[in-house]
């Protein structure tokens, strides 16, 4: 399974992914399942059959409440799995190549951080306190001798410029930087290997409002300049709209809606998404927020049929069976109300 590729094979493999950049979707997630073994012996169905596509140049926001599986989905894409995995299957096609089939070593060498990188929640607190920033930021390039030291440091300077940190800070240590700057260094680290896709998992939830907005500005700038694709995971609906061209909404481990930003934030399709949007307090426009009664089902023992049915005001008899993902124009909804498309 983990076959070490020889030098010739490695370079061919890298070529294999990048040339197909322009045709078809950038990322295609097909029937991906990720189940964990829980401490008490049950099965936590964190990602329960997710399907979506992301075209090049489009950014995707994955929204949902805590425990809906969105972070697990990110981990599934980047294969950052804990030890208690029970099931991990499906197809993940990056520019047409199924990276699920890669052995762990090849995945580490060719995909993780090289093609897809990640900025995770409160990563800024995980910076190594005894390494200078330039060594940390350049680290993804320095391991495996992907580039020479000189090139790596040059790249580090470049990405610091892109994220908006004065280059002088490369010689400092993490504790000398403020929260916002540390998070920007993490973003720089994610960009240094020139990936196709950056996954951002709650990148700003630990920061103040103004700092958050500044970082969002930086991310928007980077997106334009580098034509980067983002997958932005958050539970904060308002913030998600800052970077989203398309929105995926998850509930109880499943994808319940995948629509454009225009559709999702104005007039979502799925009843859960509608309720979610209605519960967000707005600052500039007055509206009375609504809440959803009950709570999300446990991922250990999800109910039969549609998982939102017991809290849904629009449920009917069909809902006792699990609905498939229906196409609704360019968009997708997992709800019997849209059976006729």
């Amino acid at each position: 399974m983990t076959k070490k590729l020889n030098h010739k094979q490695k370079s061919t493999a890298r070529v294999a992914i990048s040339t197909e950049k322009s045709n078809g979707p950038l990322l295609k997630v097909e029937d991906v399942f990720l189940y964990f073994k829980s401490a008490t012996g049950g099965l936590v169905r964190a990602v329960d059959g997710v399907n979506f596509e992301l075209n090049p140049g489009r950014s995707l926001a994955i929204v949902g409440e805590s425990g809906c599986g969105k972070t697990s989905l990110a981990k599934a894409i980047l294969r950052l799995l804990p030890r208690n995995v029970a099931t991990y299957k499906g197809r993940i096609l990056l520019s047409g190549t199924d990276i699920m089939k890669f052995g762990d070593e090849r995945f580490r060498h060719d995909v993780r951080w090289v093609k897809i990188s990640m900025v995770s929640q409160a990563a800024m607190n995980s910076l190594n306190p005894v390494m200078k920033l330039k060594d940390q930021v350049a680290e993804p390039l320095l391991i495996d001798n992907r580039t020479s030291k000189k090139e790596a440091y040059e790249r580090a300077r470049e990405v610091f410029r892109i994220v908006g940190i004065p280059v002088a800070f490369l010689d400092r240590y993490a504790f000398e930087l403020s929260g916002g700057m540390r998070q920007r260094s993490i973003i720089a680290m994610a960009l240094i290997a020139d990936p196709l896709l950056v996954i951002l998992d709650e990148p700003t939830s630990a920061l103040d409002v103004l700092t958050q907005a500044n970082i969002m500005n930086a991310l928007k700038k980077i997106k334009k300049e580098l034509s980067l694709n983002y997958i932005f995971i958050t539970h904060d609906i308002a913030t998600s709209s800052e970077l989203a061209d398309e929105v995926v909404c998850m509930y109880a481990g499943q994808l319940v809606e995948h629509s454009t930003a225009e559709r999702f934030y104005r007039d979502p399709l799925h009843p859960y998404a509608q309720k979610l949007m209605a519960s967000v307090p707005t600052l500039h426009v007055y509206k009375k927020p609504e809440f959803i009664t009950g709570q999300p089902p446990s991922l250990l023992n999800p109910p039969e049929g549609c998982r939102f049915a017991e809290r849904c005001t629009k449920r009917f008899e069909r809902c006792q069976k699990e609905p498939p993902l229906f196409a609704h124009g360019d968009e997708f909804v997992k709800c019997w109300l849209y059976e006729r498309g």
């Binding site: 950014s59 409440e65 805590s66 403020s178 929260g179 916002g180 103040d208 409002v209 103004l210 700092t211 958050q212 907005a213 500044n214 969002m216 500005n217 928007k220 700038k221 539970h235 904060d236 609906i237 308002a238 913030t239 998600s240 709209s241 800052e242 970077l243 989203a244 061209d245 454009t260 930003a261 225009e262 999702f264 934030y265 104005r266 309720k275 979610l276 949007m277 519960s279 967000v280 307090p281 707005t282 600052l283 500039h284 426009v285 007055y286 927020p289 609504e290 809440f291 959803i292 009664t293 709570q295 999300p296």
Partner: protein
């Protein structure tokens, strides 16, 4: 009790020029400066009134709250609660305040002792304040009904980890109310809850406030939710209160440049956001050990008046009725 005559009857809490400074010691004994967590805050809270204090982390809002509660010691200034001065008092003399002020914390699970069940948690304050046993049972049921942790039998023996986030927070609210307080202080009461549950809890708190004519002090960093909490909002920045007004006013007519920046920085969920850059000042809030000279926001302020804002601290101005701001622009 003679002080009661001096204070207006409808003001419950009055804070005047409060400062809370923490001393920093190097190597355990060498003085190394102060963390000026609250540095000159004044406001009044009426009976039955709800106010929200908005501030980011490091603005001093949590220390302000803890000073009001008597959990931190005020360095200077006055706090008057129900006509009596409570700043700097010994714990023994503050006992009466404890039953008058309820505290709702941010982390619902952390605020509950994991080894006590619902009944146990609610009984603790009653035992401490020496309520008779049969009355305890009655009061517990009463308060569980109010926060809708019903049927009581179903919940009373449950442990915190058997409750959802929303239920846990409702228990914390119940505990805060159980001694019939006249004021509730809530520190980010919903920020650790899921979006769909937040509204439920906020509505519950409003209902309780109305039913018992309670005064409430909310602390949050989320300006979007302010109008659902209270009528008045106070903005804190770097240990000072920079703007005080009604919630409608603050959205329609923000006066302080910091408030204006906040409003620009907070998005409503709209698809256009992805294409728009936000025009906000860069930089970070100052550290509270050595804040900037003069107005603390001046290094980041787009409307800074050189020679004034960087030299003198602005006093409080009232450019329109009941709208206070600490900014030289409104002299």
């Amino acid at each position: 009790m003679n002080e009661v005559k001096k204070v207006q009857d409808n003001i419950l809490l009055s804070v005047k020029d409060l400062r809370t400074w923490f001393e920093l010691k190097r190597w355990g004994f060498l003085h190394a400066g102060f963390v000026r967590a609250v540095d000159g805050v004044s406001f009044e809270l009426g009976k039955g009134e709800a106010i929200t204090i908005v501030g980011e982390s490091g603005s001093g809002k949590t220390t302000l709250l803890r000073t009001i509660l008597g959990l931190a010691r005020a360095t200077e200034g006055e706090i008057t609660f129900n006509g009596r001065r409570i700043e700097g008092q010994k714990e023994h003399d503050l006992a009466w305040v404890r039953s008058q002020v309820g505290f709702v914390q941010q982390d619902p699970y952390g605020a509950l002792a994991p080894f006590m069940n619902v009944g146990g948690v609610l009984r603790e304050p009653l035992i401490i304040h020496k309520m008779a046993e049969d009355e305890q049972e009655k009061r517990i049921r009463e308060v569980m009904g109010e926060v809708r942790l019903v049927p009581v039998e179903n919940f009373i023996r449950r442990y915190p980890h058997m409750l959802s986030g929303g239920q846990q927070q409702r228990l914390v609210i119940a505990r805060a109310m159980i001694l019939h307080p006249s004021m509730i202080v809530a520190d980010e009461p919903v920020s650790m809850l899921d979006a769909s549950v937040r509204v439920e809890i906020l509505e519950l708190m409003r209902k309780i406030q109305d039913a018992h004519n309670l005064s409430v002090v909310y602390i949050t960093h989320d300006l979007s939710s302010v109008r659902y909490f209270s009528e008045r909002v106070f903005i804190m920045y770097a240990a000072k209160m920079v703007e005080k007004t009604d919630v409608q006013e603050i959205v329609k007519n923000p006066l302080h440049p910091y408030t204006q920046a906040l409003l620009k920085a907070i998005p409503d969920p709209e698809p256009e956001n992805a294409d728009q850059f936000r025009d906000i000042p860069s930089g970070e809030p100052p550290n509270l050990i050595s804040p900037p000279e003069g107005c603390r926001f001046h290094p980041r302020c787009p409307q800074v008046i050189k020679g004034l804002c960087d030299v003198d601290e602005p006093p409080e101005f009232e450019p329109s009725p009941d709208h206070f701001v600490e900014c030289w622009l409104y002299k």
